[in-house]
Symmetry: C2
Subunit: 178 residues, 2 copies
């Protein structure tokens, strides 16, 4: 890890700019400008613009996979609670990456970087519904997943720790009301 100081700087600057302006809305030039290097240097450390995105997504994907692996060992109620807590934590920690998923959401085609995450999202979705197969249950789970993501990424940074707990509390109430 930390193969190069410049490389890390490029990653963190890119993460912020991608989250702020979207993937298509960010150029290699603006990344290079903020880092304080040349565009060629950015492409020296990464094969392409897409390679930066792939490198950014990787850690979030691993943590998500770890969460879903843990969920699959739990029964309905425990899985739902753990999914809520875990997802609230993840979405707050990887706010920028979540924003990227929303940004790329419209273009269903060219996102090989996100493909491996889909099964994990599916697991999370079902865990939110307490392993139920009731359509309304699943729909509400879907609404909550997307809603939480969107809300978190539209809140200012300084409220995030509070927001994580509030979001988990609210989700628990909405998803367990029979």
């Amino acid at each position: 890890m930390a193969r190069s100081k410049t490389r890390d700087e490029i990653l963190s600057v890119a993460a912020r700019q991608f989250a702020a302006a979207g993937f298509k809305g960010t150029s290699l030039q603006t990344i290079a400008d903020e880092v304080g290097c040349s565009k060629a240097t950015v492409l020296y450390h990464f094969d392409s613009k897409d390679a930066i995105l792939v490198a950014l997504i990787a850690p979030a994907g691993q943590d998500l996979a770890a969460l879903t692996a843990r969920l699959s060992t739990l029964d309905a109620d425990a899985a739902r609670d753990a999914a809520i807590e875990g997802f609230a934590e993840l979405v707050v920690r990887y706010r920028g990456e979540v924003a990227l998923i929303f940004d790329q959401m419209l273009s269903i085609f060219d996102l090989p970087a996100f493909e491996p995450l889909w099964p994990d999202f599916e697991t999370l979705h079902h865990a939110f519904a307490g392993w139920s197969s009731d359509p309304d249950e699943l729909l509400l789970a879907e609404v909550m997943l997307a809603g939480i993501s969107s809300v978190v990424l539209n809140h200012p940074d300084d409220e995030l720790p509070t927001l994580r707990d509030a979001v988990a509390r609210v989700a628990r109430r909405a998803l367990t009301s029979r």
Copy 2:
């Protein structure tokens, strides 16, 4: 209305392409290609690319304004129910435009087209919370608003009428569970 056949065609093609690939991801050239005219013709009917977006947003904005005006005359429970039904209807009817808002969500800066809609969203937000000022109530309302939008625009067209009712039913349950 219907000032020109070509103009209308440009609007409908642009609506579909914007919803499919995002605003930044759509070019005047691809719009012109699908319409079967030249890029210059597109810019003859509209002053700029942004002008197309403005023309597309207008009807959705008017319907949203009409809904919120109606809401403000109702008390808590009635307002919430009406907000849920009305929003489900709107978000299904203007699926493409909702997608555009999500697409532009990341770029907080350059969206004069969406600015006038903000107060109406605010009203809708509070109506979803039944005019309550409880933070958790408001947060859940926010989650549901964003979640419903995201879910609807990620469902295939043929399920939309069913989805509208299902989404309203689920939202009512989640928002009225005390």
